[in-house]
């Protein structure tokens, strides 16, 4: 909220984050903790999109491609390797590398806006269709069957580094996920304050002027896209471990679409916005799922339409404006 200094805002967010991190496992039972973990996973995924879109100006219609790559890479690698540290890292680096390649292809081709959206949509679709069709037992990577639409169940979950016989318990998973969310959130803030981050924001403001000042815009955009891919991949790893199951749906259109809804509702241009959006929408979805009067998709769709028409900036920025106007009175 404007009026409060940025440092104070950060302290408040950090405070809330730490309270939740250390406090929740004491207050809440394991089942609920598990439910909350998925909120964190989605918040992280939303953050990845919010970063590249709100700050990098890149609207990716297929962010689920990297989410899915993270999930599947972990599953396949964990089955083959057994100990989880390598797979964990690989599952972040592979989506990031893939994003770097895809990004380079798009940005060095000077693609933008709609056309970028289509290509990212198509790439996610290609991954979905491909993985979905691998049900046959001949589709194997090492010892891991890809499973097609059946997915990959029961792979080794994350363990304490170096000790495959000590898998993380649900509350430890929560600590990891929440800790990572806080780390990534503040990491991104730091990045945005750095020289790199300021240039990225400038590029989003006016790409031509950034070029005329001598910055290689294509390189910066590729880097931003790669970082977003890596974070989405991280969310994918956590997702895979949360449910101990991956299926082609992680690459799906619905997954990408939902992420976009999270970011828009929460607010483009802030980092807390996507997190709030994800938590809110996920909460709503869960509540709606428990009744059968009104359909899920119907309500989500209605929300999206109303938000675009009435709150074009999203929730957090609008709230921020209301607060600052309130203060001036």
């Amino acid at each position: 909220m404007t009026g409060m200094s940025e440092r104070n805002r950060h302290l408040i967010v950090l405070g809330i984050g730490l309270i939740l991190l250390f406090g929740l496992p004491w207050v809440v039972d394991v089942v609920t903790l598990l439910e909350l973990t998925i909120y964190i996973v989605y918040a992280l995924f939303a953050l990845s999109l919010g970063f590249i879109w709100g700050h990098g100006g890149i609207l990716c219609f297929g962010q689920a491609a990297f989410f899915g790559l993270g999930a599947y890479t972990y599953a396949v690698a964990a089955i083959n390797v057994g100990e989880s540290s390598g797979p964990f890292l690989l599952a972040i680096l592979l989506p990031a590398a893939f994003a770097a390649l895809l990004g380079a292809m798009m940005f060095y081709g000077r693609l933008s806006d709609v056309y970028l959206g289509v290509i990212t949509l198509v790439v996610a679709l290609i991954l979905f269709k491909f993985v979905n069709s691998t049900a046959n037992e001949t589709y194997v990577i090492g010892q891991a069957r890809l499973g097609g639409f059946n997915g990959i169940p029961g792979f080794p979950t994350l363990n304490w580094p170096g000790d495959p016989s000590a898998p993380l318990m649900p509350d430890e998973m929560f600590y990891l996920a929440m800790g990572l969310l806080i780390a990534v959130y503040f990491g991104l803030h730091g990045l945005l304050r750095s020289r790199f981050g300021r240039i990225v924001v400038a590029i989003r403001e006016n790409e031509l002027r950034a070029e005329l000042l001598g910055y290689d815009v294509r390189l910066y955009k590729t880097a931003v896209f790669a970082i977003g891919g890596g974070i989405a991949g991280l969310a994918g790893v956590l997702f895979a471990n949360w449910g101990n199951f991956v299926s082609p749906g992680v690459f799906g259109l619905a997954q990408s679409a939902t992420a976009i809804i999270w970011v828009i509702v929460g607010g483009l241009g802030t980092l807390i916005g996507p997190i709030v959006g994800a938590v809110l929408i996920q909460f709503l979805t869960t509540q709606l799922g428990q009744q059968s009067v009104v359909n899920n998709a119907f309500v989500l769709g209605l929300i999206l339409v109303l938000v675009v028409l009435l709150l074009p900036k999203g929730l957090m920025p609008t709230l921020g404006q209301l607060f600052s106007r309130g203060r001036r009175k």
């Binding site: 020289r195 002027r209 005329l212």
Partner: protein, 239 residues
């Protein structure tokens, strides 16, 4: 700085076609070190298109652009900037959502490390008279102020070649006088090309003038000679 008189920018047969329209028609252009060259001509004469071929915003259909004898035809704008060329576009191209200070910082950040860049930014704010505007969003400034910010951004890192497209547009009389003085000052260190419409302004700063007409160079000479030329008057006013 190279010896006076050396050719620092050259185009050979530069042509730009849009569909069936030839906007720039086989232009041979030479610029010498230290010059302040004005490009003038009626609307649609091709001067802005020619300008964009120099900045890298447009890739020429044919011909060459040589910067200090190095071919830079169709180079990306960032390469031109990295070669030491500062550009101000026709419509102000600034970071509207960012503060004046941040805009200037970004102009300098490529040349200096973090803390030095900060110091240089504050110096630049003072030098270009923007210190009291430093925390204002550029998008909220008046047009003339925005132009001043852009020009400051363009010259802050002291490029050896400065290209300005209609720098005086939308400025008040006082601002134009200040601008003319600033340009003369810049010219002491940098070679310049200025596209302009305002004849008074050109008289204030003018050295050599190139007149464009229908995509080609009509005449190129000292400012007074050109403005007295009958052909030029005809092109602007009709016979």
């Amino acid at each position: 700085m190279s010896a006076r008189g050396e050719v620092v920018l050259e185009t050979r047969g530069l042509t730009m076609r849009f569909g069936g329209v030839v906007a720039v028609d086989q232009v041979d252009f030479t610029l010498r070190d230290g010059e302040l060259r004005c490009l003038i001509g009626p609307n649609g004469a091709g001067k802005s298109t020619f300008f964009k071929c120099l900045t890298g915003q447009l890739k020429p259909s044919a011909g060459d652009v040589l910067v200090r004898e190095r071919p830079m035809t169709g180079a990306e704008p960032c390469r031109m900037a990295q070669a030491g060329i500062g550009v101000k576009t026709q419509t102000p191209s600034v970071f509207n959502g960012l503060t004046v200070r941040e805009n200037l910082f970004l102009a300098l950040a490529r040349h200096h490390a973090g803390r030095i860049a900060d110091a240089r930014t504050d110096e630049a704010l003072e030098r270009y008279g923007l210190a009291d505007l430093r925390h204002r969003r550029v998008g909220e400034l008046a047009h003339g102020q925005r132009q001043r910010v852009e020009i400051a951004m363009v010259v802050a890192a002291e490029p050896w070649l400065v290209l300005l497209d209609e720098p005086a547009a939308g400025m008040t009389h006082e601002e134009v006088d200040a601008l003319a003085a600033l340009i003369r000052d810049i010219n002491r260190r940098s070679t310049m090309i200025i596209v302009e419409h305002d004849m008074q302004f050109i008289r204030m700063i003018g050295d050599r003038v190139t007149v464009f007409h229908q995509g080609a160079i009509l005449i190129e000479d000292h400012v007074d000679t050109v403005l007295d030329d009958a052909r030029v008057r005809e092109v602007y006013l009709g016979s």
